[in-house]
Assembly symmetry: C2
Homo-oligomer: 337 residues x 2
């Protein structure tokens, strides 16, 4: 079993990416890691700490956020990302690719190089957010990769999100909700009203329309949304969390009593920070709907995020995520027809 790494994608590449792979390798002795990127630089960071076990594929070019995704994937053949995709595509033993590089380039490369599961027209990104409950996260699909969706895309998001959540949290039949502007079945826009019956007949535990207010309440496991609305949901939640923390900080600074109080509350602030930062726990998100596992990590990923992403890729592979999506799709297509 091999995992391919884009060692030169992300703000902290290549150092943190490679350190993350070293952490992953300690935990998963049976996995072979293939590192793509400037060979000399990779070797100097590794400094033989991998015991010569890693395969290094020289790919001196780098794709940045300034590159146009389609052109970059087509023309930068010697970039770390394109090389990584080529290996994932051609090597049967390669089960996953991990990159913290340009989102656009990763998504474009995944579709152009790896291809979609038959029947899925729009693969999706499914990030995870914390809820107000201590041990409960919520999955959002799609978070912005797909705008102007068709109703059938939302059904596919439901299937893919449900299969993914179920493996990640070991929960059978996670609760799937459809993002809408009201809970009643007749609420929504044209798209969600048409998608509603498709989600109802899909092989998932569909609980109906869910309002954005419920996203962080813990009452739903998988929130299905068209990409534009999903993007608003994700970013509004992030922005609001940051705004509250900023207001809190500013107020503490302006009162001596609050400053003293804050000293006593260090445990709480630490807990709050840890709870909000789910990214650290999961590392990356798979680009759901592709024929092989493409793990997209946040650009700011550190070694722990990369190691978590490797853990997740192995978990998803062992639990046959892609096969499960394929099967759910067959069942759904049967009832759609």
């Amino acid at each position: 079993m091999k995992i391919v790494i884009d060692a030169f994608g992300g703000d902290n590449a290549p150092k943190e990416i490679i350190e993350g792979v070293l952490l992953g390798a300690q935990k998963h002795a049976d996995v072979d890691f293939v590192l793509c990127g400037d060979k000399q630089k990779i070797e100097s960071i590794l400094n033989s700490r991998d015991g010569g076990k890693f395969t290094i594929v020289d790919a001196p070019e780098i794709i940045t956020n300034d590159d146009m995704p389609t052109e970059a994937i087509r023309n930068k053949e010697n970039s770390s990302l394109v090389k990584a995709f080529d290996i994932l595509k051609n090597d049967e033993d390669a089960i996953a690719m991990v990159s913290a590089g340009s989102t656009g380039a990763i998504l474009t490369g995944a579709i152009m190089k790896i291809g979609r599961i038959k029947g899925i027209s729009r693969p999706a990104l499914a990030p995870i957010l914390p809820t107000k409950l201590p041990n409960k996260d919520v999955l959002l699909i799609d978070s912005g990769a797909n705008v102007d969706c068709k109703p059938i895309n939302l059904q596919h998001f439901a299937l893919m999100g449900s299969a993914y959540y179920s493996i990640l949290y070991g929960k059978e039949d996670p609760k799937v909700g459809l993002l809408s502007n009201g809970t009643e079945e007749h609420k929504g826009n044209e798209l969600t009203k048409e998608a509603y019956p498709l989600l109802k007949q899909a092989p998932v535990n569909f609980i109906g329309n869910v309002e954005a207010r419920e996203y962080m309440s813990g009452s739903v496991d998988v929130m299905v949304a068209e990409g534009f609305a999903g993007n608003v949901l994700l970013k509004a939640s992030e922005g609001a969390v940051l705004a509250v923390l900023s207001l809190l900080k500013r107020s503490i600074k302006s009162h001596l009593s609050s400053k003293i109080g804050a000293l006593f509350m260090s445990k709480t602030f630490k807990e709050l920070k840890g709870r909000i930062d789910v990214l650290g726990k999961h590392g990356g998100s798979p680009f759901l709907g592709c024929k092989k596992l493409v793990m997209k990590n946040h650009g700011s990923s550190n070694r722990n995020n990369i190691a978590s992403s490797i853990d997740q890729a192995i978990l998803l592979h062992q639990n046959k995520l892609i096969e499960k999506i394929g099967k759910a799709l067959e069942v759904a297509s049967g009832s759609n027809a």
Copy 2:
């Protein structure tokens, strides 16, 4: 100058509504208040405290959230809300109507009874939210009254929101942003891409696409959104704020040191609560795009919210909100043609 009050709309009606009007009357001696609702009950609450100055219009029926809006407006002629609309429509001196009743019925009644400003096909609700900055709020238009909008509707939202914000905060040329999934001009969905040039040529200070993350950052004054996305933005922000407060509370309870710290931080928690609750400051939102001022208050409004809503109605009337919207619309129609 008269203000018409639906004395029987809202969770705390009629008591808190009437107390709110009494507060408003103390401040605005030149305004005549017309209270619609069960006359006997209104009189018993007033208990002559208005010095016989209020006009009471007997309207014993009540419209609830369970009523279908269109039917209720058509058939419940003797309801406090319909009577209030009739007076607002027919009495030239009536400048505004204030209600904390069913949102659907208020919006339907506003369109059926009062009518739209010429050229505006979709009036909109524009609630105000706090930002992370101390003295800066942000206006969202539309927050859910209109889904499946056309590009021209978003241009109208920009004009109306800008005129409203400018009066409410005394700020000329407030910054108007278009909610999108990225800041670049080419980002967005079909709707926002078509709306972009229309906002650019409108007589407002258009600053371009704005991501949901920026909503509470204070970098924009008026956020223009199609109603579905706007609803997601509003409710996701509310949900996230509540989730952070809930996590904070739970964590404080579970550590003795945090409990002690929290005692010292009472000023900060009070400030945070006050900052988040903008509702109390403004009372209600006008339903923008109608021929006369229809102030929609939250169902849970108390006397202070009603009094604030009366203040706001007078401010908007004195500063000629409706005329300003009409003029901006003429300018925009000129450049659209």
